[in-house]
C-alpha cells in the first residue's frame, strides 16, 4: 500500500476504504490534496472580495433618507 503513495491513486481505492469510517490509511497524499483543493476553491471566491451589490446594499440600508434613490 505504501507503493500507492507515488503511483496511481487507483490502488488506494482497491485497498478498500469504506465510507463513513475515519481511516488513517487513506492516502496521506490524497488527503492533503483534498485540503488544498478545498481551500483553493474557497479562496477563489474570497479573492473576489465584496461585490458592489453588497456594499451598495449596506450603504442603502444604512441611510434611511436615501431609500428613494434608485
Amino acid at each position: 500500500m505504501k507503493d500507492a503513495k507515488s503511483t496511481g491513486t487507483r490502488s488506494q481505492m482497491e485497498t478498500g476504504t469504506s465510507p463513513g469510517k475515519p481511516d488513517a490509511k487513506l492516502g496521506r497524499d490524497i488527503q492533503a490534496k483534498i485540503g488544498q483543493q478545498l481551500r483553493a476553491l474557497y479562496d477563489e471566491v474570497l479573492n473576489q472580495g465584496v461585490p458592489d451589490r453588497f456594499a451598495d446594499l449596506l450603504n442603502r440600508l444604512d441611510k434611511p433618507d436615501d431609500k428613494e434613490s434608485r
Binding site: 465510507p19 483534498i34 471566491v45 473576489q48 465584496v50 449596506l58
Partner: protein
C-alpha cells in the same frame, strides 16, 4: 436603520466567506449571491438579536444556512442550473493546481451529500471549529466530525477512481441534480 459602524464592518467583512459558503451550497454563483443578499437583509432586520462579542460570522452563516434550507425545499425543482455558471465563474483556477485535478475535485465535491459537503466546507475551508460548525448546523459536534470524516473518505474514493475526461460541466450538473432528487 442606522447601523453601528463596527457591526456594518463586521457584516461586510463576512461577505466573501458567506459567498464562498453559499456557492458550495447552491453550486451556482447567481443563486448564491441572491442567497447572500437575502441573508444580509434578514440579518440586519434582526440585528438586535445578535449578541455583541459573539461570533458575527457564525451568526450570519447560521442565518444563511437556515434560509437556504427552507428555500431549498421550496425551490428543489429549480436547482437545474443548466448554464454551468459555477464552472464559469471559477474557471480561473489557481495555477499551482492543475486544471485536471481542480475539475476532478469540483466534480467529486458536487457528488457529496449536502450535509457532508457543508460540514467539510465549514471545517476544512471556512475555518470554523467543529464546535462552531455544530452550532451553525444545529447538530452535535460528533455529528459534524462524522460528516467531515465521511466526506473526506468519499472524496478520496471519488478522486481515486474517476477519470476527469469523463466529466464535463454537464455531468457536474447532473450529479448535483441527482443528489438533490435523492436528498
Amino acid at each position: 436603520m442606522a447601523l453601528d459602524a463596527s457591526v456594518r464592518d463586521a457584516v461586510l467583512a463576512a461577505v466573501p466567506s458567506l459567498r464562498a459558503f453559499a456557492i458550495s451550497l447552491c453550486g451556482n454563483v447567481d443563486r448564491a449571491d441572491d442567497l447572500v443578499q437575502e441573508t444580509l437583509l434578514r440579518a440586519l432586520a434582526n440585528i438586535n438579536s445578535f449578541q455583541p462579542g459573539t461570533n458575527m460570522s457564525a451568526w450570519l452563516f447560521t442565518i444563511l444556512r437556515n434560509h437556504f434550507r427552507s428555500e431549498y425545499r421550496k425551490r428543489r425543482r429549480e436547482v437545474e442550473d443548466g448554464d454551468g455558471s459555477y464552472a464559469e465563474t471559477l474557471k480561473s483556477h489557481p495555477e499551482q493546481y492543475g486544471r485536471v485535478e481542480f475539475e476532478e475535485f469540483r466534480t467529486a465535491l458536487a457528488k457529496l451529500p449536502p450535509d457532508q459537503r457543508e460540514a467539510l466546507v465549514l471545517v476544512g475551508a471556512s475555518g470554523f471549529s467543529y464546535e462552531e460548525a455544530a452550532t451553525i448546523c444545529e447538530c452535535a459536534v460528533g455529528t459534524i466530525k462524522s460528516r467531515v470524516n465521511r466526506a473526506r473518505t468519499r472524496l478520496s474514493e471519488l478522486m481515486s477512481v474517476e477519470s476527469v475526461d469523463d466529466f464535463g460541466p454537464d455531468r457536474t450538473t447532473r450529479a448535483i441534480l441527482a443528489r438533490t432528487e435523492r436528498a
